[in-house]
């Protein structure tokens, strides 16, 4: 998946200022930055929900799966009914088989008959992701997928997402949890005020911190990251 010179304006405010990157198949890329950095806007443009004012997006062959920050599913339907509805809307030849496959993948087979509203936030997010996967995407976009999850749920979520990337799906996720990005992201794209400040592996970001904010180089990753942003004027 490739983005070239993406610019997005909301009135006079520039939410994205010429952001470019390229993600390979099977890559797990984290888009990080403070609130209002432009993470959700970038993912919305990559998903095709919003259109850029300037620049281009080149999606891989096949669908681009999109998992919004807040679970986009029907809370009064059961797990199975949600999956079946979206499988039918996707036009699957055998929607019930797709539902079985997704229930197995998410580990929610035993809870298929439960109303979604009664499930925990973590399980709702798993269904949210499963719906995003129903289109069998070549690339999957996750907007802050771990928000509101407890550590155990978060761990299961990343195990699941890492497995997807392991099977060749390009996964791009946004987060403002720096430790999570460092732990699960094979590659980091740092955004601040709509500008891409860094694009590379976590070790590369450590190196950049050591170079540009040496006083914070030996601190924890989050403190070092904040010092780096401060040093870059954000």
């Amino acid at each position: 998946m490739r983005a070239s010179g993406i610019v997005k304006r909301y009135g006079e405010r520039e939410a994205l200022r010429g952001v470019s990157f390229e993600a390979e198949a099977g890559e797990l890329m984290a888009v990080i930055g403070p609130n209002g950095a432009g993470k959700t806007t970038l993912l919305s443009i990559l998903a095709g929900i919003a259109t850029p004012d300037e620049g281009e997006v080149a999606a891989p062959d096949g669908e681009v799966g999109w998992v919004p920050q807040q679970a986009a599913l029907y809370r009064r339907l059961t797990v199975e009914e949600n999956l079946l509805l979206f499988a039918r809307l996707e036009g699957h030849e055998d929607p019930r088989a797709s539902v079985e496959e997704m229930q197995e993948l998410t580990g929610l087979g035993e809870r298929r008959g439960e109303i979604v509203a009664r499930l925990s936030g973590g399980n709702q997010q798993r269904i949210n992701i499963a719906i995003g996967l129903l289109s069998r995407p070549a690339a999957l976009l996750l907007d802050e997928p771990s928000v509101g999850l407890d550590p155990r749920q978060r761990s299961r979520l990343w195990e699941f997402v890492s497995a997807l990337a392991g099977r060749g799906t390009t996964v791009i996720f946004s987060t403002h949890d720096i430790q999570e990005a460092e732990r699960y992201g094979g590659r980091l794209l740092v955004l601040a005020d709509g500008e891409a400040l860094f694009d590379g592996p976590p070790d590369g970001l450590r190196e950049a911190v050591r170079r540009e904010a040496p006083e914070a180089a030996d601190r924890d990753f989050e403190t070092a990251f904040v010092a780096y942003l401060h040093h870059r004027g954000h």
Binding site: T40, G48, I49, P68, L73, R76, L77, E81, L85, E90
Partner: protein, 452 residues
């Protein structure tokens, strides 16, 4: 179309999962049907009015020294209201003050004497007393109307009785007859017989006296002829103006059919507008809208699905309500084809309006409130008849209500229920135009949903 089918199924599943909504959708039309049914089949209750007659028993109105038969004023009044009998003024006042009775009508002891004085040189002013408790403006207006109407009835009854007696005396003067005085019967010759006698005796009189007698004879004939004319005049005096009603502007359906049409349209409007607006707002509340419109279904398809959902549920609920009304008023089921046409077209236009509301607001609660705030006043204003308000205000109401589908839907459903109603073509065309206009507005407003 494939997506629309699955979304429709999904919305029905959600509706089934919301027992409160489902119960309301069934209970609401049944409640409306029962309320309207009772209202139009039982008629208004008679108002309770205290009636206190202080006129001494046996006192009667007299004309020319002769007592008239009793006019039975109490009987006439108590046919129109539920009379509460009391024994004195204190009791009457207490019943009005407590609200047990709407008003008190008191005939004072000197009422008949004052009526009798009208034919003397020193006429009095006959008065009745009315006690009212004007605790609110509506009640005060109602009491005024009722009392004015009752007194008009009483005055009319007395005037008719006096007129009738006056006519009888005139007849006696013109044609003669027997007349009872102090237990004796005396014979009145009458003008007609007097003139005949005078004409008969004229040839027997000496010629110089004849002209004078002929003058008397002519006077008797003229008086007789003029008094013949006076009799119908006296009769008309009691009710000088009669009503000749001419219907202009087409035949209207019976009141009970119109009431059923109002109930059906109200039910259809609330069900369709709330359901369409709510289910569209739910897509936003569940964050599903962007996911759906990312290629799974077009925004037009989604709008069409919501309008279809509202129209189908509205049709089922309205038919259920009409079936309930059948217990109170027989309906012409042979016209069901027209019913279906009117309900479907009305439902589509109301659904499009609901979609525009649903697209304008983003939360189900907000949109429900908005739907009530729009539908209720529009329905109320649509029922204001011409002449009830000033012409300027009525024109403003006419243009305002024409912008919403309620009034044309009411006209279409009224026409479908009864052939005496206005034609159905105009309202259907009006609804079709509103459907297109609101669909366009909804489509435009839905663009806001796409923003994240």
């Amino acid at each position: 179309m494939r997506g629309v089918r699955w979304l429709l199924l999904k919305d029905l599943q959600i509706l089934r999962r919301s027992p409160l909504q489902a119960v309301l959708l069934i209970a609401y039309p049944i409640l409306i049907a029962v309320l309207v049914g009772f209202a139009i089949s039982r008629g208004p209750e008679k108002p309770r009015v205290v009636f206190l007659n202080e006129v001494p028993a046996g006192t009667r109105i007299s004309v020319g020294g002769q007592q008239l038969p009793q006019a039975n004023v109490k009987g006439r009044i108590c046919r129109r209201v539920e009379c509460v009998v009391v024994h004195d003024r204190d009791e009457a006042e207490a019943k009005v003050k407590s609200g047990e009775a709407l008003a008190a009508l008191i005939l004072p002891a000197n009422l008949v004497n004052k009526i009798n004085s009208l034919s003397t040189l020193t006429p009095g002013v006959p008065e009745v007393e009315v006690m009212v408790n004007e605790e609110n403006a509506v009640k005060a207006e109602l009491v005024d109307d009722r009392i004015t109407s009752l007194l008009a009835q009483a005055n009319l009854a007395i005037a008719r009785r006096i007129g009738s007696e006056g006519g009888r005396y005139l007849n006696l003067i013109v044609n003669g007859g027997n007349f009872p005085v102090l237990g004796e019967t005396i014979h009145i010759l009458g003008l007609r017989a007097s003139a005949n006698i005078l004409q008969a005796v004229t040839p027997a009189l000496p010629k110089p006296l004849r002209p004078s007698l002929e003058e008397v004879t002519n006077f008797a004939a003229q008086a007789r002829d003029n008094l013949d004319v006076a009799k119908p005049l006296i009769d008309r005096l009691a009710q000088p103006i009669a009503v000749d009603k001419v219907v202009i502007g087409g035949e209207s359906p019976p009141l009970e059919i119109f009431a059923i049409a109002v109930a059906a349209t109200l039910t259809l409007a609330f069900v369709v507008v709330l359901l369409v607006a709510g289910s569209l707002a739910l897509e936003r509340e569940e964050n599903a809208f962007p996911r759906l419109t990312r290629g799974l279904v077009s925004t037009s398809g989604l709008l069409g699905e919501k309008v279809l959902l509202g129209t189908l549920v509205g049709l089922a609920v309205t038919l259920l309500m009409l079936a309930g009304m059948q217990f109170f008023v027989p309906l012409e089921w042979s016209r069901i084809g027209l019913w279906l046409l009117a309900i479907l077209v009305s439902g589509a236009a109301l659904g499009a309006a609901g979609a525009a509301l649903g697209a304008a607001a983003r939360e189900v609660r907000a949109v429900s409130l908005l739907a009530f705030m729009v539908t209720l006043p529009v329905a109320f204003l649509s029922l204001v008849p011409s002449g009830a308000v000033s012409s300027t205000v009525f024109e403003a109401i006419r243009y305002f209500t024409a912008l919403f589908p309620f009034k044309p839907a009411l006209q279409a459903i009224t026409s479908a229920l009864d052939e005496a109603g206005p034609g159905i073509g105009g309202p259907l065309l009006h609804l079709a135009i509103l459907f297109l206009a609101y669909s366009f507005i909804a489509r435009f407003a839905l663009r806001r949903f796409s923003s994240v």
